[in-house]
């Protein structure tokens, strides 16, 4: 037996090596599940057609539509031409054709399984501990919450995986992020990851896979772990991972694609070994104190430009980019953002659109009204979450508060489907990126948790959720 202690990442990596790495060649690693959507696949399918290649194993491809998909109800494809621009509409039609031509099942408009690709994978039980998963989307890191090794790839690599179920990869390094303490009232998983990205910087994780460890971890739900893993890429990391535990198994049991019967027992046994061995060495370690954590918001134009909600915008660090960021955001060093008027609140995206996120928002919005100057859009992560939220009456809470309640999709996170913040407007958003124009041309974004977003919607200004007596 090999006695060298290994990290969780190393265990999953080693189980998937088809051809080992050498000095001259990267490893060929096997991909258990390939997630695809309409935006980063068209040129990959073109490449397959040009080379007369088939999809090696269509059953290992999970396909949905989310990025350029409208969030208003669609009953037939003809509706697309009414609600969508030509580009997104054509892209959706191409996706349907590509999946049909290559024998891939697509969770399209008629499917109650449709949703944001990183939301439906876990929801269906397709995301499982120890699996390798890729997608032409950087937020694929989300699935690491289950102990999967999951990361984003480019379109050329999408073609590689479609054709061969394999990927060329150099083995990344490992970064241990040690979380200690407990979340205070009003503080969310989103605040944890914003704090981490702020601490390590937007390139702090470059070349690394993060494992989140420490005594905070066992108290975090799978939804919270997904929010944290989701934004690992914002710290530059290839992937983020949590070791699977009883909460993971409880989440996955009886999901449509989870193993059943004896296979379930066998799977849980195997998954239980997917922990970092005592004495395993990480290339880097970082400690984060969760006891001291406050609600966090961003003030600039990348997710590392972050501060506590009651802090003042930091002083200029001399760089051209910092100055440009503050100018773009129309914020000033030395002044707080708290109480700054806002135009839009967006609650949604693969970061924060799961049922628990909607419940966090509903707890604050219940029996209250959003400010009349704030457009508030709430977009569930999947059609299943939409149905579940409606069965709990959350949609009624949102609508009574004056918020828009939409069909599932990526929506205003990147503004590809027509849902945008608006030129020059300021949004508090539960999404993952506050880049210039990320939420539509000229948009300005403050990233925050669903609680902070809901509180800000009511106040009409950037607001601390704790003033609403958050439980």
């Amino acid at each position: 037996m090999n006695s060298r202690p290994k990290t969780l990442f190393e265990k999953v990596w080693e189980q998937h090596v088809v051809v080992p790495e050498t000095l001259d060649t990267p490893a060929i690693i096997y991909i258990d599940l390939h997630l695809i959507h309409e935006v980063t696949t068209p040129q990959a399918f073109t490449l397959l057609r040009e080379n007369n290649l088939k999809v090696r194993d269509p059953k290992k491809v999970l396909a949905t539509m989310d990025h350029s998909t409208p969030t208003v109800p669609i009953t037939s494809l003809k509706d697309l031409d009414i609600v969508s621009e030509k580009g997104p509409a054509n892209q959706i039609r191409d996706m349907i054709k590509n999946c049909r031509d290559f024998g891939i099942e697509l969770y399209g408009f008629e499917s109650d399984r449709r949703g944001i690709v990183h939301v439906i994978g876990p929801e269906l039980g397709a995301t499982q501990p120890g699996r390798t998963m890729v997608c032409g989307d950087s937020h694929t890191s989300t699935h690491g919450a289950f102990g999967a090794l999951a990361f984003g790839i480019g379109t050329t690599e999408v073609a590689h995986v479609l054709a061969t179920q394999c990927l060329l990869q150099r083995k990344p390094k490992t970064l241990s992020v040690n979380l200690t303490g407990n979340l205070n009232s009003g503080v969310c998983a989103k605040d944890i990851i914003l704090k981490i990205v702020g601490d390590i910087g937007v390139d702090g994780g470059t070349g690394h896979v993060i494992e989140y460890r420490g005594n905070t971890v066992s108290s975090l739900s799978l939804e919270q772990r997904m929010t944290i893993c989701n934004m690992s890429i914002e710290g530059g990391a290839r992937a983020g991972m949590f070791a699977p535990d009883q909460s993971t198994f409880d989440y996955l049991e009886n999901r449509p694609m989870s193993p059943k019967g004896d296979d379930w027992v066998k799977a849980v046994n195997e998954w239980s070994n997917l922990v970092t061995d005592d004495g395993a060495i990480f290339d880097k370690e970082v400690d984060i104190d969760i006891d001291a954590l406050q609600p966090m918001i961003t003030f600039g134009t990348n997710p590392g430009m972050v501060m506590s909600i009651d802090a003042e915008v930091p002083h200029h660090n001399g760089s051209q980019s910092f100055k440009q960021a503050l100018n773009y955001m129309k914020v000033e060093s030395g002044k707080p953002l708290l109480e700054k008027p806002i135009d839009v609140v967006f609650i949604g995206s693969c970061t924060n659109s799961r049922l628990s996120d909607l419940q966090d928002a509903a707890d604050i919005l219940k029996d209250r009204k959003v400010d009349s100057n704030v457009r508030t859009m709430i977009v569930p992560g999947s059609q299943a979450i939409k149905a579940e939220a409606e069965s709990l009456g959350l949609d009624q809470i949102f609508k009574k508060a004056g918020a828009e309640w939409r069909e599932s999709g990526c929506s205003m996170c990147l503004g590809m489907n027509g849902d945008t913040v608006g030129e020059g407007k300021l949004a508090v958003s539960t999404s993952n990126r506050n880049f210039e124009g990320r939420q539509g041309k000229g948009s300005r974004t403050i990233l925050a948790s669903p609680k902070t977003a809901a509180a800000s919607a009511i106040s009409g200004v950037v607001q601390d959720p704790r003033i609403y007596g958050d439980k």
């Binding site: 088809v18 051809v19 000095l23 001259d24 060649t25 990267p26 060929i28 096997y30 935006v39 980063t40 068209p42 040129q43 073109t46 490449l47 990025h67 350029s68 621009e85 580009g87 997104p88 054509n90 892209q91 191409d94 032409g136 950087s138 790839i153 480019g154 379109t155 050329t156 690599e157 073609a159 590689h160 054709a163 061969t164 179920q165 394999c166 060329l168 150099r170 990344p172 937007v202 390139d203 470059t206 070349g207 914002e234 530059g236 290839r238 990348n302 590392g304 051209q320 980019s321 990147l414 503004g415 590809m416 990126r433 880049f435 210039e436 124009g437 990320r438 539509g440 041309k441 000229g442």
Partner: protein, 190 residues
């Protein structure tokens, strides 16, 4: 694919740090069905005003940008979204190399698959290049050496496999396909 061994060009600068792929190609252009002409969208919101007119003092709108195939950029170039449209647009515009002090992982992988070389240089060389925009710089992929017309030089590294593919004009997919037996063996063993 075109074989890449050596090339030289004057440089242009975009010194901002952490340039994300949403700036390189804004999301609304990701619905383009092919790579052709995507260079028109490169840095669109930094390059054109609200009416779509070129912003004169933005570097890509200057006459010297037309003749340059080397962009010198700030630290952590290409962070954010995995969109391969970013290197497609840079290549379509005419770039063959980006020089910086570091690159985001996914961007680097994507660039190398499209004949665009991400070159990481030490800080002193980076400063020299940023301080002397328009220098003629020679990139030698064979010897992994970068040299300016002033005689300053440094070595750089490129993943050996990507370098081999770039120098021989080989598509990486062919290599994976050639390992069919290993892949089948792996699948059977599971």
């Amino acid at each position: 694919m075109e074989k890449i061994l050596k090339f030289s060009s004057t440089t242009i600068n975009l010194a901002n740090e952490d340039i994300d792929t949403d700036q390189i190609v804004p999301a609304r252009f990701l619905t383009l069905p092919s790579k052709e002409g995507i260079g028109d969208c490169l840095f669109y919101d930094w390059r054109f005003d609200k009416l779509g007119h070129p912003i004169e003092d933005f570097v890509l709108n200057k006459p010297e940008a037309k003749n340059s195939s080397i962009l010198v950029a700030g630290n952590n170039f290409g962070c954010g979204s995995s969109r391969e449209h970013a290197p497609w647009a840079l290549v379509d515009f005419g770039f063959k190399a980006i020089i910086s002090t570091s690159f985001a992982d996914i961007f680097k992988n994507n660039a190398l698959k499209n004949g665009l070389i991400p070159i990481t240089v030490p800080e002193d060389m980076h400063k020299k290049l940023l301080g002397n925009e328009g220098l003629e710089v020679a990139v030698d992929l064979d010897n992994l050496k970068l040299e300016t017309e002033l005689g300053n030089s440094c070595s750089f590294s490129v993943d050996p496999f990507s370098r081999y593919c770039l120098m021989n004009g080989i598509d990486q997919l062919g290599y994976i396909l050639s390992q069919e037996l290993e892949i089948t063996n792996y699948e059977t063993s599971q």
